[in-house]
Amino acid sequence: MLGINILLGWSVYLPISTAQASIGNAGFMAIGAYISSFLTLQSGCPLFFAIVVGGIMASFVGVLLGIPALRLKGIYLVMATLAFGEMVRNIFLNWEFFGGAYGMRGMKGTSLFLVYLWVFVALFCFFLLSRSRLRLAFDSIYDDEAVSQLTGTNIVKIKVAAFGFGALLAGIGGGLYAHYMRFIEPGSFTVLLSIYMLLFVILGGMRSHWGPVLGAAIFTLVPEISRGLKDYRGVFLGGLIICLMIFRPKGVITRDLFKMMFYLPKKKG
């Protein structure tokens, strides 16, 4: 579950690093989950392939949504993605072909290895990204879109790409999720899940790909660790979020933190 959450966190991190906040990623996740489940259940297609197809379909829809969504900014984009997520959920809810409200069951085959394979593949891609000029393009759009364009960036291309790759990760995460839970229903992909994904990124830190990893870890592990608090678990988690926001408003992992970790020891030595 942690691995899946990390992938989901990254799926929001990518659009955010080009200044596009999305709370509709549960929609992309649902697309990935349903399509891969359909493929493994109905056509006996191998799991790996089904997950890839699910991811690609989600990313295709993501690009379609990304092109008009580009005109929206800030809170308006958030509203549009929210509406999209709910739209997808309702489509699956009413589509008997995919089981309607009953959902789909019987998928199996996710192993821990498979999940972390995807996580490491994605991590490697993020590593390449962080060393490439593409990251500069992402940063520039995050900082100042107009100037970025006036320095020769095709911001439309890059923003849609970021949105699409985010959707790809969400779709893959959805496929893995479906085969891990062995049961999906439209109720699994509510706005709340999208908000959680966004929280992974915001709390963990949105300027580094390690941020969502830590955010996902906090959100997956803390509820387990604090199980002893019983009914007050939610209160504890809520309090933790507030504390993190107060003490690390830019997220736990920021770029300055890396600089402190890597450069300070050198100077002393």
């Binding site: 000029r133 393009a137 940063d139 100037v147 020769g152």
Partner: protein
Amino acid sequence: MPSVKESILELRNITKNFGGVKAIDNLTMDMKSSDILGLIGPNGAGKTTVFNLMTGVLPLTAGSILFGSREISTFSPHRIVQYGVARTYQNIRLFESMTVYEHVKFGQSCRIPSRLRNFLGGDLGTSLKREAEDILHFLGIWELKDMPAHSLPYGQQRRVEIARALATQPSLLLLDEPTAGMNLREKKEILQIMENIHERGIAILVIEHDMRVVMNTCNRIVMLNFGQKIAEGSPAEIYKDVKAREVYLGKEQPC
């Protein structure tokens, strides 16, 4: 110095309306590649609007803009940059999360055809690196290359902005008040930089309020008022022009 006589930039009857306001009214001017052209005029005359029209930020209401011999007024901003128009901004606009060196590197990246190639490095990588180092030395900000750009003092930030613009390898550089808010020594340094850029064969179009700067560096001046061209000529001609003095110079203390 390039001895090319043909014009690098032509604005033909450009007009820009904001609602009912005519920000630019039927402006025609041209520029040679050996020019340092000064664009002057009182506040609100439409100088920055001209820049925004030229770089594709705002669409034209009427008229056409020719760069080289290409009509660029319908292009999107990033393509105009790729054809060789770079600019700086009236209020410094740097990227908060980048170092000085990264600004230059980012400026270069618009010229790279495929972004995938960056992973490979190779000859392209080394030549770009050498060029970036050259630009940083040229502007005297080599020592600051690993500093976050927004933590630098104002004067240095201006240089980073110019460095970023130069990294796109422009043939025309638009400077929007490059010496605003600077003291005399810093102004002189920026003027020196402008002259050095010009020696590299890059045409410069500069918006400036400081008449000393304009009179000393520009070889030609266009004066705007209420979006219309009211005077054009060499600094000496502008200095004598009665209409121009009325609008502008009369209130200032010329050198």
